[in-house]
């Protein structure tokens, strides 16, 4: 008898969220964020080369509330992509492919990225300038 209740490919609406898919999706999302951020880094360097007036425009944008939000978001995206990227490199070397290890390392990526972001901003604040 044909079973019409057979599971189909993972439809996001009915698929139970688990940490393995969260880390995978976040790696792509943070990659795109950092891609946009790379253009902002290019803008900063071009402005610095162009002169004080252009640098002033960039500097003012970076110090605005929106600029602060972008810098903070960039820091987290960088921290996450860095830690999860290291995890991927370890997996490329054949390490930690068992399910418990995979789940544990996924949590290290997520929580580690928040800790690293907090650390970077704590040091930045202590340096006296909110970037």
């Amino acid at each position: 008898m044909a079973n019409h209740q057979r599971p189909l490919s993972p439809h996001m609406q009915v698929y139970r969220w688990q940490i393995q898919m969260v880390t995978s999706i976040l790696h792509r999302a943070t990659g795109i964020i950092l891609g946009v951020g790379s253009l902002l880094i290019a803008w900063a360097l071009i402005a610095l080369a162009a002169g004080p007036e252009q640098w002033g425009h960039f500097s003012a944008a970076a110090r605005s509330p929106l600029g602060f939000l972008v810098l903070f978001g960039w820091t987290w995206a960088f921290a996450y992509h860095l830690i999860n990227g290291l995890r991927h490199l370890l997996q490329d070397a054949g390490r930690s492919f068992d399910i418990p290890g995979f789940v544990r390392n996924s949590w290290i990526s997520v929580i580690g990225s928040l800790v690293l972001t907090a650390l970077v901003w704590a040091v930045a604040m202590m340096q006296g300038g909110a970037a």
Partner: protein, 131 residues
């Protein structure tokens, strides 16, 4: 193209996607090499931003123009835009299946990444040479 064995097969068959192009691991390897480089260079840039984020125009220029920082910054920029281009390429390959859009986005991805890389490297060189 070098062909081994099977001389009865016309090279056109390979060109039409019916055989290996012999560079399948190139993308994978370069993505990993740039990733490993960016672990170090990315942390260095974050350290540079945190330690000198509040710097004025003259100080920022002097830092970026220093041969040590200019060298590492250019290495960072090349690795970052190369890695970004490879990553965005895979995302487009995975999600964009309309032939026209796929080609258009792949072209745009390469043009933007390469132009931004050239512009930002040129900016660092101009600052380093005191232009």
């Amino acid at each position: 193209m070098k062909r081994t064995g099977d001389h009865l097969r016309h090279p056109l068959k390979v060109a039409r996607g019916l055989g290996s192009a012999k560079d399948g691991t190139g993308h994978f390897i370069i993505q990993r090499i740039t990733a490993i480089a960016l672990v170090f260079l990315g942390l260095y840039v974050v350290w540079l931003l945190v330690s000198g984020g509040a710097a004025d125009f003259a100080t920022a220029r002097a830092t970026v123009g220093h041969p040590f920082h200019a060298t590492l910054l250019i290495a960072f920029l090349v690795a970052m835009f190369w890695h970004t281009q490879l990553g965005i390429q895979v995302i487009i390959e995975d999600y964009v299946h309309t032939a026209g859009w796929a080609v258009l986005l792949q072209l745009a991805n390469r043009f933007v990444c390469i132009l931004a890389a050239i512009a930002s490297v040129l900016a660092v060189i101009r600052i380093a040479l005191g232009a």
